[in-house]
Amino acid sequence: MSVKSIGPYNFPAKDVRENFPAPLLFIGWEDHLMFAAPICLPLPPDTPFGALGAAVLPGTYGSHPDFARIDWSAVEWTKSGKPWKPDPAKSLAENGLQHKDVIRFRAPGLSGLNGSCN
């Protein structure tokens, strides 16, 4: 379906890649709903994927008691909801991540405050 309008209806999309200094990446931590929503970050495409756990995410999730216990080699990732195996040594772009992709991670054995998914 499309918009019904009284004349031609053709307007630019606001959030295309060119409008940002770096592509956006959406990241969610499963079973940790103390963090209200997934986060949104502009990240240069040459950022090594492994830097997420080591340098990017501590700023957001580091305050959670589970965070320090994450074994990043055992973490399960999904991309657009489907199982996904990124290579931590390669960059975000080399792992195929594009503007406005959404990835989520689950750390086995860690399910929030007293297992409450918080």
Binding site: M1, S2, V3, K4, S5, I6, Y9, N10, F11, P12, A13, K14, D15, V16, N19, F20, P21, L24, F26, G28, E30, D31, L33, M34, F35, A36, A37, P38, I39, C40, L41, P42, G59, T60, S63, S80, G81, Q98, H99, K100, D101, V102, R104, G112, L113, N114, S116, C117, N118
Partner: protein, 519 residues
């Protein structure tokens, strides 16, 4: 002797006809369809505008008289409230934050409604529909003014109430109500009436007004109660317009039914998402609770809605898609939303707080299936953290739903431990939504929603700094620059209530120390 002149007086019905429909005419210099082009392109077929039943039965002279009397009473109460320092009589300064939410999130919508109805009041071919919309348009302008006047008194004493209109166009959470109304009034006039008059005012409005106004009454705020009642008497007319418009469209042509059903599906969901902030206000922001969000949802939506949609079934209309999800949400959304504002309180111009122990007990009692297992653990943790000097703030911007623009905080139907993620591709770009229904709204009109002004994306594009800001300057703090652009007074408008000026001042005015004990 002069013959006495007998004044011919019109009966009520004739008088009404003379002062409404008789004022309309069919144009001859230009064809009617060129003069009234807007009520055709949506696909709604109207065969006989004379079948429109005027819902208000009110002529302009009577309208001015009634409204004038209401205004006199209202302003007398507001004046008395100010003279008697009524602001000191509210239960607790936490209550004022419900007013801040109302003034920033609801009052500007009245102004949008005024504009929307003025537009519809010009564009309908039928004079009856035009007159009804014009009167409602004036009502909405009146509500905008009276709410602003009533609340301006609080602005003298409390923080965060100083720039509602400026904030409405900029602050992240206000893009939710703003985009709701912009979506509605950029539709055609029939969609606008289905959105605002029917889905919002007829189906959902009690959930907006009753909690705020009875909340005000319970918490000693007579000024707000009075403007609420003054507006509420108009609302009943507005609800009548909503149901009349729906029935008129459905009776005029069977081809209208699927179009109207699609709008009901869309606008029930858009309205429900918008009411998330009312849910949290009701369960968390009123020092004296009226009833829980869940209870009012059951009373005003589940019970009334069942009857309404049973009645509309004879036209082939069913309950809106999303009904089941919305009904399940009654156990969750208030808790999810308050937790969101609690952690993003650095960027909101009102205060948040951890519920007190007795308030937590109330929440456990009202939400026996969900509060203790899902939501209490985070409050217990945050309470402990705050006590140790680590009040929790989330410093990373959240992912937003492209349609409703709420942060992606809503969970899956049947599993409240999983955030719901939905994704669409359109012309090589990805778009994300919080639910099946927001995704369906996006997919139906992607050309519209790719223009969404999403606050998080706008911040990252560098569009939320004051002109002249230099992001390359040494020590540049982007978040502080955004708050400056919002006109948010850092340190007094935002952050936790416990450390707020509001709390300290209110206690001092009442001769107490900040913990509430008499000095």
């Amino acid at each position: 002797m002069d013959t006495p002149v007998i004044k011919k007086k019109l009966g009520l019905k004739d008088r009404y006809a003379a002062m409404t429909r008789d004022l309309a005419w069919d144009t001859t210099y230009q064809p009617m369809e060129k003069v009234f082009p807007y009520d055709k392109y949506e696909g709604i077929k109207i065969h006989d505008w004379d079948k429109w039943e005027d819902p208000f039965r009110l002529t302009m002279d009577a309208y001015w008289k009634y409204q004038g009397e209401k205004e006199k009473k209202l302003y007398a109460v507001i004046e008395a409230f100010a003279q008697n320092n009524g602001q000191l009589g509210v239960t607790d300064a936490r209550y004022i934050n419900a007013l801040k939410l109302f003034l920033t999130g609801v009052t500007p919508l009245e102004y949008y409604a005024y504009r929307g109805f003025a537009h519809a009041g010009r564009q309908f071919t039928g004079a009856g529909a035009r007159v009804a919309c014009q009167m409602q348009s004036i009502d909405e302008l009146r509500h905008y003014q009276t709410e602003t006047h009533a609340l301006s008194h609080y602005n003298k004493y409390f923080n965060g109430l100083h720039s509602p209109q400026h904030m409405f166009d900029r602050v992240w959470y206000l893009s939710v109500p703003k985009s709701f109304f912009e979506d509605a009034y950029t539709g055609g006039p029939f969609e606008f009436l289905t959105a605002v008059s029917f889905s919002f005012e007829y189906v959902l409005t009690n959930l907006l007004f009753v909690p705020f106004m009875s909340g005000a009454a319970h918490n000693g705020d007579m000024s707000t109660v009075t403007f609420g009642f003054s507006a509420q008497s108009d609302e009943s007319r507005h609800m009548t317009l909503g149901i009349e418009c729906i029935k008129f469209m459905l009776e005029q042509d069977p081809d209208n039914v699927p179009i109207v059903q699609g709008w009901i599906d869309k606008w029930f969901w858009r309205g429900y998402r918008l009411l998330t902030i009312v849910a949290m206000m009701q369960d968390y922001m009123l020092p004296k609770r009226v009833m829980s969000w869940r209870e009012s949802w059951e009373m005003y939506v589940e019970e009334n809605g069942e009857a309404l949609f049973k009645d509309l079934a004879r036209y082939g209309i069913r309950k809106p898609k999303g009904w089941i999800q919305a009904c399940e949400g009654k156990d969750h959304i208030s808790h999810q939303a308050w937790a969101t504002f609690y952690q993003y309180n650095g960027a909101a111009p009102f205060h948040t707080w951890i519920p007190k122990e007795e308030e937590m007990a109330w929440l456990s009692e009202k939400y026996p299936e969900t509060f203790d297992s899902l939501y209490k653990p985070r409050w217990d943790h945050w309470r402990k953290e705050a006590a140790e000097g680590r009040r929790f703030y989330n410093m990373t911007l959240p992912m937003l739903c492209t349609t409703c623009q709420v942060p992606m905080l809503f969970t899956e139907l049947g599993d409240a431990t999983k955030i719901a993620y939905r994704e669409s591709d359109y012309l090589g770009n990805k778009y994300h939504c919080c639910s099946d229904h927001c995704k369906e709204i996006f997919d139906n009109e992607p050309e519209k929603y790719i223009q969404s002004w999403l606050p998080v994306q706008q911040i990252y594009q560098g569009n939320c700094f004051k002109p002249g800001t230099d992001p390359t300057a040494e020590g540049f703090d982007p978040l502080l620059a955004v708050l400056d652009y919002y006109h948010l007074n850092f340190g007094s408008d935002n952050f936790d209530f416990e450390t707020s000026e509001d709390k300290k001042n209110f206690a001092a005015w009442n001769g107490e120390n900040a913990e509430g004990a008499a000095k």
